[in-house]
């Protein structure tokens, strides 16, 4: 039924699809057979996947957020404070962090989403700085520049995730869950509505799609995913501090999304997988690594605007468009 086959999947031939799924499965399973360092990288990658997928949801609506790390921070600090001051366990405190972030995103989004393009970027950047400064300043509750340490590991139903290997399982499940969520949204009317709003907001609005509500929903959802990532990150690393959530971190998320692919549901995963382990490849040559990031960003923007996820190439993309 051609009308309803509007999914954003790639028109790759079946054998290539199988190969990619196999590669993904292999990559997912490998860390359990490798050393603790690989597991550490794998955990960080999964957390980045979750957070960048949140950014992807916001980007899909046509807005680029340069303050994403701030929402990670609110989720992290929110869940830590709920655990510490209200004595809540892992899951309730994580949900508290996500809920607080959702409320903040709702309030902020209601006033800033009407801004377009670079203005939205600048205002999210300003918000990110504001959050960071507030965290630095509020030492009575936030611990100031030192942050909060001694955070207990995550535990669910009696199982404590205090080893890298076990936490990796949790992180992997959540990361893959976020990809599945994005894929599900992309197939549903809500996902199609997001695309419509991004491509032609006036036309979308005139067909009954309330641009404000749809953008707000996507923005809150994206920030909620970031918050979940923050809450998990706090439990894994064991501490939170304001400098873990500054503008460079937000820029890092954008780089992952752009390189992975802003239009694909796999963009966050690919971007995080490619960029998180990279510092290891560069073995301490930090400057060279950053030059590589900068150059990769410019090259991708110029030659592969759909990101690495768009790699099947322009002719495949045209086939996909025509099968819609």
């Amino acid at each position: 039924m051609t009308v309803l086959s509007l999914e954003a999947g790639m028109a790759r031939p079946a054998p290539v699809q199988w190969l990619l799924w196999l590669a993904l499965a292999a990559a997912a399973v490998t860390p359990w057979f490798a050393g603790p360092f690989v597991q550490h990288l794998a955990v960080l990658t999964c957390l980045n996947v979750l957070i960048v997928n949140g950014l992807a949801l916001i980007a899909r609506c046509g807005q680029l957020s340069l303050g994403h790390a701030a929402f990670v921070a609110v989720g992290a600090y929110g869940s830590v404070l709920a655990a510490r001051h209200l004595g809540w366990g892992f899951l309730p405190s994580m949900l508290a962090g996500v809920a607080i972030t959702a409320v903040v995103a709702l309030a902020l989004g209601a006033i800033i989403l009407r801004l377009k393009g670079v203005y939205f970027v600048l205002v999210t950047f300003a918000f990110g700085e504001l959050v960071r400064l507030a965290l630095l300043d509020g030492s009575s509750w936030s611990g100031g520049a030192n942050g909060i340490a001694g955070i207990l590991p995550a535990e669910l139903a009696g199982w404590v995730f205090d080893s890298r290997a076990s936490f990796y399982g949790l992180a992997l499940a959540v990361a893959l869950g976020s990809v599945a969520l994005l894929a599900a949204v992309a197939r549903r009317p809500f996902g199609h509505a997001i695309d419509a709003v991004a491509e032609n907001p006036a036309l979308a609005e005139s067909t009954g799609l309330s641009v404000q509500r749809i953008q707000l929903c996507a923005f809150v959802g994206g920030c909620a995913l970031a918050a979940a990532g923050g809450a998990l990150q706090a439990r894994y690393v064991g501490y939170v501090s304001p400098e873990s959530f500054n503008a460079s971190i937000s820029i890092g998320f954008i780089i992952m999304l752009v390189i992975g692919g802003r239009r694909s549901v796999w963009g966050g995963l690919i971007g995080a997988m490619v960029l998180t382990p990279l510092p290891e490849l560069f073995r301490g040559a930090v400057q060279t690594q950053h030059i590589f990031y900068g150059a990769a960003l410019i090259l991708i923007l110029r030659f592969l605007p759909a990101g690495l996820a768009g790699l099947p190439g322009p002719w495949q993309a045209r086939r996909r468009k025509e099968s819609q």
């Binding site: 393009g117 205002v123 700085e129 820029i251 950053h290 900068g294 923007l301």
Partner: protein, 289 residues
């Protein structure tokens, strides 16, 4: 506690810092006006300007003013080449252009780190001694910096107001479409606009090099200030950037008398957010929205 002296001192400090902000912001808004590009690499050109002044005075033996002038020329040329070579595909492509400048900033900063190392260098003062104006004391080096900054601004003003390329550039900034219709060849004005814009950032960096230290990390704060000023003054409005730059410098200076720095910083960001939401065209209302 003689408040009048404190206030006068704060005014002078505020004006000095305000001039720096003005130079950064005018350059930044020029780039945005011509190319619709939020130039995240603007701070790195400030940083390169500072290094330029440092090396030209300490290694090449130039005196300060010629060093600044040469730094400016090199920055304009370098900026024009970079625009033409790297940023051309992103002209007037707001979001992608902005992301591309993020990449450019990373490249420039890390090239500087690799070439100069992370440690801050201090440049010899432009002049020794102090000047006295009544009860006020101002270091002579600062006075010189202010004079040179005003000279640069006068030259800029003259260029924009009275020269043909300058007027054409202003036309492109004010209304791109009309300028194109009038036959102004934007192919020249993209590299020129970008070059001039980052050249101003380099001049700001060169002028401030003797007053603050020189290191690959000095670009971040001026970039931040440029953002704030340009938002307050209106993206794309040169007069707005000038007025808001001086206003911010003075406000920060007076603010430091009254508030703790962290509160003042947060207040500024809160004001920026409110400005963007309520009046995106900026204070003077001549910017774009």
């Amino acid at each position: 506690m003689d408040w009048s002296i404190l206030l006068a001192q704060a005014t002078i400090n505020g004006l000095i810092v305000g001039l720096l902000y003005l130079l950064m912001a005018v350059g930044f808004t020029l780039v945005f006006g011509v190319m619709r590009m939020v130039n995240f690499a603007h701070g790195e050109f400030y940083m390169l300007g500072a290094f330029g002044a440092y090396y030209l005075t300490t290694q090449a033996g130039l005196t300060f003013l010629p060093a600044v002038a040469l730094t400016f020329a090199l920055a304009v040329a370098g900026g024009a080449v970079l625009e033409w070579g790297v940023l051309k595909p992103f002209r007037r492509d707001e979001l992608n252009g902005m992301i591309a400048t993020i990449g450019l900033a990373m490249i420039l900063q890390n090239l500087a780190l690799m070439s100069f190392g992370p440690d801050p260098l201090s440049m010899p003062a432009v002049a020794q001694g102090t000047a006295r104006m009544g009860k006020l004391v101002v270091p002579l080096s600062r006075v010189y910096v202010v004079l040179f900054a005003l000279l640069a601004l006068a030259l800029l003003y003259g260029f924009l107001k009275h020269s043909r390329p300058g007027r054409a550039l202003r036309a492109v900034v004010e209304d791109f479409e009309i300028a194109a219709i009038q036959g102004i060849r934007s192919r020249i004005y993209y590299p020129l606009g970008f070059g001039l814009g980052v050249g101003l950032a380099a001049v700001a960096g060169a002028l401030m090099a003797p007053l603050f230290s020189v290191s690959p990390f000095v670009g971040a704060t001026p970039l931040l200030k440029a953002f704030i000023v340009v938002i307050l003054g209106g993206l794309g409005s040169i007069p707005g950037a000038a007025v808001a730059g001086l206003a911010l410098g003075l406000a920060e200076s007076y603010g430091s008398l009254l508030f703790e720095s962290s509160t003042a910083d947060m207040l500024i960001f809160a004001i920026v957010i409110v400005m963007l939401v309520v009046r995106p065209k900026g204070l003077l209302g001549r910017g774009e929205a």
